[in-house]
């Protein structure tokens, strides 16, 4: 079935089963193993600052993979992904700090609660045109922002700080432990997302994006599969929110506003709509960009070019991420994944490219 060869030029898909395989050549499998090995030794190679960024990027990447299943595959735009992330983060934080549960239970609970909220909230949108989901999630995001600041359970503006930080006797203040937890989750759930996209569910999602009416005529329930897509993506995002609590150990309401939703959308646009690997690249891109902008604003404030540092940082982030979204859509709609594919194809077809 899998030929052991480096180039994919001789590997033809002779049956439908062949079409579903993940790797056309043994080389792909080998490079995946090398990549995983590299990820396993990475925390011992880099400094704590880079490790912190890697953890953040991994958590965002998980949420972006979930959003890409919803937006890239099912074609439903969601502007409430930040609220989903926030529900996950707050659930985990409340369960751990108030009920003194272990993170091992709190993180799956975070994902589950996010799914419940998303499903109850999005019931009307599944029956309507795709854009209504964007409207209702936008409203949900704004209501979430409001409620989370005024509810006594969530600690108001101060947020929640977690003192107890242990998981099976492991010290969660050590970023390496967090790294392994985050990346095990990321790899596992990315694998699941890949499997979803290449099986009948993923095909149903794509069909829904392209023509809902024809899909309904083929016997695939539009409402059921849209709901399923919303549920899967909000589970990913809620779980990522729970991991975010594990990573940060202190959360405030400002972290989960509308801006976070837009950042998630930027991630999947930069990575490329409908591409799983692209969403991971997009998440890394956004994290690096944010750090770069912090660096730029620091220089600008030191030279008295800009007045108020905190405000300017936010404005600069908004401005630059907006510009990046627009430029990517106009000039590279397939995103970083498209660029990567072009490079690979260039080498593969080398003398003729």
């Amino acid at each position: 079935m899998n030929k052991l060869q480096i180039y994919s030029c001789g590997a033809f898909n002779e049956s439908y089963i062949n079409n579903l395989t993940l790797f056309t050549t043994g080389f792909g499998r080998l490079s995946l193993c090398c990549g995983l090995l590299f990820l396993a030794v990475l925390p011992f190679l880099c400094c704590p600052y880079v490790l912190f960024l890697l953890n953040t990027a991994g958590i965002y990447a998980m949420a972006a993979v979930g959003l890409n299943l919803l937006t890239g595959h099912t074609g439903q735009l969601s502007l409430g992904q930040g609220a989903c992330f926030g529900i996950g983060a707050y659930t985990a934080a409340i369960l751990v700090s108030k009920l003194e549960l272990s993170f091992f239970l709190a993180i799956p609970a975070a994902g589950t609660l996010a799914v419940l909220f998303a499903i109850v909230f999005c019931i009307p949108a599944t029956r309507l045109r795709f854009i209504y989901l964007a409207f209702i999630t936008l409203a949900g995001q704004l209501i979430f922002d409001y409620l989370i600041k005024w509810m006594p359970l969530t600690g108001g503006q101060e947020g929640i700080v977690i003192n107890e930080s242990g998981l099976f006797g492991l010290d969660l203040n050590d970023d390496r432990i967090v790294y392994y937890i985050v990346f095990l989750c990321l790899i596992g759930f990315t694998w699941m997302a890949v499997n979803v996209t290449r099986t009948s569910y993923g095909r149903a999602f794509s069909a829904l994006r392209i023509n809902p009416r024809a899909t309904e005529a083929l016997g695939i329930s539009v409402v059921k599969f849209r709901m399923l897509s919303i549920a899967i993506s909000s589970f990913y995002t809620g779980l990522a929110g729970g991991l975010f609590t594990l990573h940060m150990l202190a959360i405030t309401p400002e972290l989960f506003n509308l801006w976070l939703s837009i950042e998630f959308i930027a991630m999947i646009i930069i990575g490329g709509l409908g591409s799983i690997s692209g969403s991971i690249m997009g998440a890394c891109f956004i994290v690096v960009l944010n750090e770069f902008l912090v660096f730029v604003t620091d220089i600008a404030t030191k030279n008295d070019l800009l007045v108020d540092s905190a405000m300017t940082k936010l404005a600069l982030r908004e401005f630059s991420i907006g510009i990046i979204i627009v430029l990517f859509i106009l000039f590279q709609p397939k995103g970083l994944h498209g660029i990567w594919r072009n490079i690979i194809l260039y080498f593969r077809r080398w003398p003729f490219s």
Binding site: L77, I262, I321, V326, I329
Partner: protein, 291 residues
Amino acid sequence: MELLFLLIVDGMFLGCLYAISAFGFVIIYRSTGVFNFAHGGFVAIGAFSFLMLACWAKLPLFLALILTLLGSFGFGYLVEYVTLRPLAGKPIIYPIILTVGLAVILKGFLTLMTNMGNCYTLDFPTKFTLQWTNLNAPYSVLSIFIIMLILLITIALFIKFSSFGIFMRAAADNRSAAFSLGVNVKEMFSFSWALAAVLASMGGIGLAIIKGLTLYEIISWTGLKVFAVVIIGGLHSISGVIFGGIIIGLIETLTGTYISTSLGEMSPYFCMVLFLFFRPYGLFMKQPNIS
């Protein structure tokens, strides 16, 4: 009782301003099929440039109004020409996400502008207060509202009766049929974006005057209320927008006064969610359409 009456008048006035900006949103949706998430940004940019011209450059109000409207016409045209025209024929999700990007750019741009200069608390000097017994407003401000009303009627008549307006509606109705009959569909799309930007900035100017907004308040996501108005009125319906605007304006003012200001700011979104649950196509639309 007197307070209630005042609040109702105030809310209806506010609602009319929301309706004017939402009218622009509906024009864009009906003619090009794109949901303009940057419409709030258009409102904010209209209000911003009007305040800059009136308070910072100290131009007469009439001149400031005309310059702002001309500028926003050009701005809307340019936005369509540069960003949306290349996307014709792509899946509809790309232009929609692009407008989300535009909204973020506009918001970031306005925040940067307020940080660069000393216009942090640019406030309209002659505050316009509506009272039960006497209308306490300078004539210049009052004349602005009258001019805007005349403009609005002109635009409505223009769309209804002029040949250009008929071309526009034809392009909105069936773009390939209109194209084959010789309508320049691309120009019509640009023109409807420009018109929508003008309407949005008219709403923004009104808001800037009536609320005496500081810039920072304009920049915050005030413009998002447009979506609540549009959902209540129905995405297609122009007359629905007026009702939606008035309902939202009344609810916002009454909740803001009687319960709490922050809840008043949020009430349009609660309203929007309720409508999406129970009457998703708005007050006046009936067609169930799942695509």
